[in-house]
């Protein structure tokens, strides 16, 4: 049961990364890819009607974490108090820039929010990556199973490496998204070219990060040896990565996005699978720290909450697919009626 919850929480976080990654990536590349107001407006218009739904995956994952692993939720969020507060502030600034930019017709106003959107998105991408890095590396619990995560601790070299991977990966993801959505030919070509450069960096960084992961956490590969079926996850990642390369060659952003989503799911899935049953391990030790067993809510709770969660998520996937179809196709910023 706890395994099911562990996978469900992982899937919700993957959904958040894949979907909000479009927004974060477009934001991080906002100033580089968008030249002139029309192109920048395209970025906002592409995510405008949909981004709340993306952010809800984060909230829903948070709610699920309280239900299933209340102790994990309590220990990790209070431990990384200041870092998490920074994440919240950046989320507020990112959201404000999307909502406020189009409200006033003035170049200085728009310029201000363009910079806010870019910086907050880039920082969020790095911090979310660094969070994953710290989960893999572990945190220094004291005997009371508490820890205090200062910025110096949170931004250790390994976590920063994962943070940079996350930034570069999501930037590529977002560039592909922009290439898919924009109606301007030059803009599309520029986005694809950027995605190509970022793709090369992603490949290098994934190799580096994988190599750095094994010294950071002892026994990281054990699950894959005991359960060879889990090797599917890295295989999915590699297939996805190759898929992105082929799509970029064929200049097809849609298949590129699909492959990118697949590789991202594979990457996060592999990280989760290699840690299990640990969920926030103890720094420098193979055992100890928080696991799915010592953080979960008692069984009765878990069963009921899992069923409710699954049913709910299936309904959400149903109607959000429909809404994505409604807002599918190229962005037309000259469309009549309210728009970004």
């Amino acid at each position: 049961m706890t395994t099911l919850w562990y996978s469900m929480l992982g899937c919700m976080l993957i959904a958040f990364a894949v979907l909000d990654g479009l927004n974060l990536g477009a934001g991080a590349m906002h100033l580089i890819l968008g030249r002139g107001n029309d192109e920048r407006r395209t970025h906002f218009a592409a995510v405008g009607p949909l981004w709340w739904g993306y952010e809800v995956w984060l909230l829903a994952a948070g709610g699920s974490m309280v239900s299933a692993f209340p102790i994990l939720y309590a220990k990790s969020f209070s431990g990384f108090y200041l870092v998490l507060t920074l994440v919240l502030w950046m989320l507020i600034i990112r959201g404000s820039s999307i909502e406020f930019r189009q409200q006033v017709d003035n170049d200085l106003w728009r310029g201000f929010w363009d910079v806010c959107y870019c910086i907050s998105s880039a920082l969020l991408a790095i911090l979310f990556g660094a969070a994953v890095g710290n989960v893999i590396r572990g945190v220094p619990f004291n005997s009371n199973m508490d820890f205090t995560g200062s910025f110096a601790l949170a931004l250790n070299p390994y976590a920063v490496l994962v943070g940079v991977l996350s930034l570069v990966y999501l930037s590529m993801h977002g560039s592909l998204f922009i290439a898919l959505k924009t109606a301007f030919e030059e803009h599309r070509v520029r986005a694809l070219k950027a995605a190509g450069i970022l793709y090369a960096m992603v490949v290098v960084l994934i190799v580096l990060t994988t190599a750095a992961s094994f010294p950071s956490r002892h026994g990281l590969g054990a699950n894959f040896i005991h359960h060879p079926i889990l090797l599917l996850l890295p295989i999915i990642t590699i297939t996805g990565i190759i898929g992105i390369g082929c799509s970029l060659k064929a200049k097809n952003p849609l298949s590129g996005l699909a492959a990118s989503a697949m590789a991202l799911a594979g990457l996060m899935g592999s990280a989760g699978a290699s840690l299990y049953p640990a969920i926030l391990p103890k720094l420098g030790q193979a055992s100890g720290g928080l696991t799915v067993y010592n953080t979960s809510a008692p069984q009765a709770d878990l069963m009921l909450a899992a069923v409710l969660n699954l049913v709910g998520v299936v309904i959400v996937i149903g109607y959000s697919t429909y809404v994505h179809k409604v807002f599918g196709g190229k962005v037309n910023i000259h469309e009549e009626g309210p728009a970004y």
């Binding site: 239900s67 200041l82 959201g95 809510a297 009765a300 709910g312 959000s320 807002f327 009626g337």
Partner: protein
């Protein structure tokens, strides 16, 4: 009180009170928009379509600010109240999860269609989206208040305690049908609908006073006054009264603080006004209605009401805040009934749009439903102190011990700065949208 308790409470209070400015309007306005949209769709009346489009623009700004300030709330239980989450997370978690999965997804997904999709979907789907948006918003309110209902009144059928002193949900049905929840939820929704209606009416009054957008102004005034009056009445009776009954059956310390009842006495009077002097244990300069409190609380004019002086200090909520917040809420609620009642009479007499003195009154009244909503929540939450989960978990045992008071103060200051800027921008942009006015009728 320890510093840590004070700063963590201040942190939560500041964030939730600023956040609630937005949902207070969101819930009410989403219903108003659904009503306009229904009149548009079923009566094929383009005037209501324009009204829905105008209010959707305001709704967007409000919803955006609500999401921005709401995300920190979801994580605050983990950051600042880690011991509360550890102990009660297994019980309150499923409700919070369901809020995200069942309600918040619904509203955020269909908001996109309501705002930007009118030309992309059929009129039916657009109408349905507006209804689903309102439904999602109201459902969201339900799941949040059900969490609070458990903290006010942990129904014993819903949970059990484990040997390591954690709470476990045993019966989701009992949790969701907590008797405290029904009336508190309906009372909350009434407060929100009054806010939505009075804001709509105030904008209508503004246009009428400015002699602009006559048709749109008429729709706003009429719908605002009617909906506002219905829910002002509903907020007082039955929801307010029933909510009070729940306080009487669950928390006598809160009752005594709300009413400023210091002595335990038979045939206790109801204090209409007065100033509680806690050190001296008396209500100064009161105006009393004899025996009314006993009658309202127990249905018997001779019944005994327990006073503050009889309750151990360690179990008492802050009396002054609870007392004043309660009286402000009640006073404003009565004022809304009076103002909107006059509005209805003027509407029936066909003079609503021309009585300039009344339009001024409606225009200036818009901040007060917000104050009443915030005051009401102060009664509920400050009145529950010193408990987080009433009778089970004290506030002093709930905050995060691994976060220092300095960190809490630092982030509180940061949030206040950010929220101040956000609030100013929000007001400017709403003002701008209102001064632009609804789209012109020339299209027809």
């Amino acid at each position: 009180m320890e510093t840590a308790v004070i700063v963590n409470r201040a942190h939560f209070a500041a964030l939730i009170m600023f956040h609630y400015i937005f949902p207070a309007l969101t819930m009410g306005l989403s219903v108003m928009i659904a009503v306009f949209k229904s009149l548009h769709y079923f009566r094929k009346d383009e005037r209501y379509g324009r009204a829905a489009r105008f209010w959707s623009k305001i709704f967007l700004l409000n919803f955006g600010a609500g999401v921005a300030t709401g995300v920190p709330m979801e994580f605050q239980f983990g950051t600042n109240w880690a011991r509360f989450s550890t102990i009660a997370g297994g019980v309150v978690g499923p409700g919070l999860m369901m809020e995200g999965v069942y309600a918040f997804f619904l509203e955020s997904t269909f908001l996109g269609i309501v705002l930007f999709g009118e030309k992309r979907v059929s009129p039916f789907v657009h109408w349905l989206s507006a209804v689903l948006l309102a439904f999602g918003t109201l459902l969201s309110g339900f799941f949040i208040t059900v969490t609070d209902a458990f903290m006010q009144h942990p129904v014993s059928a819903a949970y059990r305690a484990t040997p390591d002193h954690r709470l476990v949900l045993t019966d989701l049905g009992a949790y969701l049908t907590n008797p405290y929840e029904l009336w508190m939820y309906l009372h909350t929704i009434s407060g929100s609908l009054i806010t939505g209606a009075m804001v709509v009416a105030a904008v209508g009054a503004f246009y009428a006073l400015s002699r602009k957008h006559a048709e749109f102004s008429r729709i706003c005034l009429k719908s605002g006054v009617i909906v506002g009056l219905i829910f002002s009445a509903f907020a007082a009776f039955p929801t307010g009264a029933k909510n009070g009954e729940q306080v009487v059956t669950t928390n006598l310390a809160k009752l005594a603080a709300m009413e400023g009842q210091f002595k335990t006495e038979h045939g206790a009077p109801l204090a209409l006004i007065g100033m509680p002097d806690v050190p001296r244990g008396a209500l100064l300069d009161p105006i009393y209605v004899p025996k009314l409190l006993s009658y309202l609380a127990y249905g018997d004019a001779g019944a005994a009401v327990r006073g503050i002086n009889e309750i151990p200090k360690s179990d008492m909520p802050p009396v002054e805040v609870t007392y004043y917040a309660y009286h402000i809420m009640i006073g404003l609620g009565m004022a809304f009934i009076a103002i909107l009642g006059i509005g209805l009479l003027l509407l029936l007499a066909g003079r609503l749009q021309t009585s300039r003195w009344f339009l001024w009154l409606l225009l200036l009244a818009w901040p007060f439903p917000y104050i009443a909503n915030e005051a009401g929540w102060c009664v509920a939450e400050v009145g529950r102190q010193p408990w987080l989960v009433y009778g089970l978990l004290r506030t002093s045992a709930g905050y995060s011990t691994n976060v220092s008071s300095g960190e809490v103060v630092f982030t509180l200051i940061g949030f206040m700065g950010l929220y101040f800027v956000l609030g100013v921008l929000f007001l400017i942009l709403v003002g701008k949208t209102i001064s632009q006015g609804p789209e012109q009728e020339a299209a027809q």
